[in-house]
Symmetry: C2
Subunit: 205 residues, 2 copies
């Protein structure tokens, strides 16, 4: 692709480094900015840079935060006795958007994956254990909201072992046929497991 | 959508203002930047801002340019006798990428559209006329590469009238069935016109 200006070429180059954005889309975005008000570009650039340079991580749950303690850890409205363990902060955003969970979180910062050289010591597991050990009020339940993959299962298994000495309930988010999905298009492993792990029918679903 | 940080919310807000990018995609892009090196974000922000603030327009053809005269106008390898008239600079990039055109350009900066309140005086038409009048060597051909829409046709008609006193050939890019397209899926207006405007068969296509 040829560009009439080095500035455009450079901007397209940078934008097309973003995931899922090719040169053509990058050019479209860049030309859009060029046609819009200068303030738009400045606000975009400033927003990205402020985010990248000023972002902090919560000292307690390791979620992204604007201060040393995130809003969820700081909130008195959230249940202190339940911790939901997730792989990374997009998972927190996803769970928060369901409006179905009112406890606290713990962000591992990854998942145990020997192939990628990620062991338990690379993750925020020790801080979870000491958080549970020192917590007052005492933690009653840890929900493992990890991806249903081999690595997720390995991490869940490791966490269960590490936490077995504490008197708490360890649960895992339900796996099965997605709501709105059609049985005939569900993969056989999910469908098979959903039959094995069948539940007593309840009217509220 | 709820965000754990005001910085993320702001960045997502700015990114999702780009055309074709929704909140979910914006969040994915923002989280990608957050996981990448700080330099990546800085380079992206700098690239966009430099483009927006330092871009210039060629004094002759009104294409985007790094200096007062664009590379194409400056080039001695391009044919001086042919000017291709386009609506806007993305069209220049599109035609350049075909590698089939070796003349100069003239960017109108828009198209005559009474509904949008854009008349001939809003466009770079006078500068095209004076460019043709003053050109040495004399301009032999003007190619109208405008969109095959009502506005494109209106603009082409107006330009033809304005340029009729000059001794030059005025041509228009070919319209018809797109190469690689299937006849049965071609819209009836295009197909109908392509039959009316049929050409003597030539072996080289």
């Amino acid at each position: 692709m040829q560009f009439p200006s080095r500035l455009i070429e450079n901007a397209v180059e940078e934008v097309s480094k973003l995931p899922g954005i090719g040169k053509k889309t990058a050019l479209r975005l860049v030309l859009h900015l060029l046609k819009s008000d200068t303030n738009r570009t400045d606000a975009l650039a400033r927003g990205l840079q402020e985010l990248r340079h000023n972002i902090q991580y919560c000292n307690q749950c390791h979620n992204i935060s604007d201060g040393p303690l995130c809003e969820i850890c700081n909130s008195h409205k959230r249940h202190h006795q339940i911790i939901c363990v997730v792989e990374d902060f997009p998972d927190v955003i996803a769970i928060e958007n369901t409006n179905q969970y009112h406890g606290k979180y713990h962000v591992l910062g990854g998942i145990i994956s020997p192939i990628d050289g990620i062991g338990p010591e690379e993750l925020h597991i020790e801080s979870l254990v000491s958080r549970i050990a020192q917590s007052d009020p005492v933690i009653e339940e840890v929900i493992l909201a990890l991806s249903p993959t081999m690595e997720g299962d390995t991490t869940a298994f490791y966490l269960t072992k590490r936490l077995q000495d504490y008197n708490l309930k360890i649960s895992s988010i339900a796996r099965g046929v997605p709501i709105g999905g059609e049985l005939e298009y569900t993969d056989e492993i999910t469908l098979g497991r959903s039959i094995i792990k069948r539940r007593t029918y309840e009217v509220d679903g």
